[in-house]
Amino acid sequence: MILELRDLSKSFGALKAADAISFDVPEGEALGIIGPNGAGKSTLFSLVSGALAPSAGRVLLDGRDVTRASAQQRCVAGIGRSHQIPAPFEKLTVFENLLVAACFGRGKREAEVVESCGEVLEATGLLSKANRLAGSLSLLDRKRLEMARALATQPRLLLLDEIAGGLTEGECQELVAAIRKIHASGTTIIWIEHIVHALLAVVSRLVVLNFGRLIAQGDPREVMDSAQVREIYLGSPI
């Protein structure tokens, strides 16, 4: 198991954003997470990546307890994440954003990571904007940069948080193809996405969160067809 969550909980005051969540992710899996707004999906990513400390529960990476490890240590250990609200280094260029991620995420020197950074920029469609300041990018490109920067750290476990929103159908297809390629190269992927048809084109298992609780998981089709999930999404198009 690359990732094991054990009764992971996070409270913000009286609000339980994560409520005793447990599940395992085998190495090489592509896992999808869905759930209505405010279900606690992004909070779960922050708990896994180390941006937030849990109120209770444990996170295991490769069987090792990393609950107390910092975000920086977890990145070096192989967890890469994109932020739902893009958090670029605005006064650095797009290329420099990747450079810092590649150097520090992998403990390499700049000269050693130039090629791989260039390749990631190419794969994410940002090559023509490599030398632009990240702060000058459109929202769509900022989202691309989120994924590119996470990839630059060459993660073994990649956490993607709503990166397909706002894309045209064609762009969405390209994104799906790109993620499948990353997955095919051996990277374990957990993808939070509201654009369900894109998600289902990639993942082999689905986890459903609601009010901070894991309410369903399993085969994507079966989960989507279950009465429970239909009830949650009643009124919102799938």
Partner: protein
């Protein structure tokens, strides 16, 4: 992602620009001229240049701390004073050669900064600033208790550390000048080496991947952690390096003064307020800013220092005007207006000339942006 194959690299990093190449050549010429200055300039020039170069060193290190790392310290006098007192201790108590003592004093200031950082880093923002000032006050009070170094009233350097020092005597033999004149030259050369070293160290740090990390931390500390940057460790490194620089500079300044007292060595006005002014006026978070700033500061001080406290009020007013209307300072404003970077740190991605499309860089259609 796909592994990089062994074939010819397709991408390359470029930092140099035509302007920076010209600037580098000019720098070399300037350094040669400055190094030769003692052979044709008089004593007052030496003394003025000593002041400019030592203040420049302090400004570079404070800029590294506040400008590049967001650690707004108002307590660098802690390490200036500590370095100065350590020089006196090494030379008076240990009989160490003063040039060696400068380096040792800086090193010990850095060693002291390490545990100090654990204390002050618990504080954020304004509390950090106050914390650094408190540390300086504590150092001052402690050294005022050290009787063997003169206690509250201070002490003077012996002749062995000044006129009779090996470096000074060597200049006397080379030039046949009086020891007092030779000492001014010796101090000047040391200050020149220190200032060049300060610029080289800060620029080298910014050009290394640590410079990228510092920029990332300033832009978004939380996100920097998620890409593997240890923000606390980076800041601690900068704090210790700045203390090393401030300690060496303090040691050199008081080697030249040859007299020390706790109130002077730990002066907030002299070693932090003036340095703050220099960096703000010249342009924070640029290498060139402190150079421009120290020249402006020196001019103003020459013209106005006879006015006493009015002069301090004028400096304060000027700093506030600059902060309000030219927050990037004189150099920062010019650099932005004319896209001028003598010490570039921006890394551009280019297609390596051997492969790919030789005539195009990834930015060919885009405006190349600098900040």
């Amino acid at each position: 992602m796909a592994m990089t194959n062994a074939a010819a690299p397709r991408f390359a990093i470029r930092t140099r620009t035509p302007v920076s190449t010209i600037a580098a050549v000019c720098c070399v010429v300037l350094v040669v001229v400055l190094a030769a200055l003692p052979f044709f300039a008089g004593r007052s020039v030496m003394q003025n240049m000593f002041f400019i170069l030592t203040m420049l060193s302090l400004a570079q290190f404070w800029n590294l701390l506040a400008g590049y790392s967001g650690l707004i310290s108002v307590g660098q006098q802690a390490f200036v004073g500590l370095g100065a007192y350590l020089l006196f201790a090494w030379t008076i108590l240990g009989g160490v050669d003063p040039v060696l003592a400068i380096v040792l004093s800086g090193a010990i200031a850095a060693l002291v900064a390490l545990p100090t950082s654990f204390l002050v880093f618990r504080l954020k923002g304004a509390y950090f600033a106050v914390g650094t000032w408190v540390v300086a006050e504590v150092f001052r009070l402690i050294l005022a208790q050290v009787k063997i170094l003169g206690g509250g009233t201070g002490t003077a350097l012996p002749k062995e550390a000044t006129n009779d020092a090996a470096f000074v005597q060597w200049i006397v033999q080379m030039t046949g000048e009086r020891a007092a004149v030779a000492r001014d030259k010796a101090d000047y050369w040391l200050a020149l080496i220190l200032a060049i070293g300060a610029i080289g160290l800060v620029y080298g740090l910014l050009r290394s991947r640590r410079g990228l990390a510092l920029a990332a931390i300033r832009d978004n500390e939380a996100a920097s952690g998620s890409v593997g940057v240890d923000a606390t460790r980076m800041k601690r490194l900068v704090y210790v390096v700045s203390a090393f620089g401030a300690g060496m500079t303090g040691a050199l300044i008081y080697l030249a003064k040859a007299r020390i007292s706790p109130d002077a060595a730990f002066s907030l006005i002299d070693w932090t307020a003036f340095v703050f002014f220099i960096v703000i006026i010249g342009g924070i978070a640029t290498i060139e800013g402190p150079i421009v700033g120290v020249l402006i500061f020196w001019l103003i001080q020459n013209e106005l220092s006879s006015f006493g406290s009015v002069y301090l009020m004028l400096l304060g007013a000027l700093a506030i005007i600059v902060m309000l209307f030219f927050p990037k300072g004189v150099w920062g404003t010019l650099a932005e207006r004319f896209d001028l970077h003598l010490f570039p740190i921006r890394r551009s991605l280019e297609f390596a000339s051997a492969a790919g499309d030789p005539k195009s860089s990834p930015a060919v259609e885009e405006e190349i942006s600098h900040d």
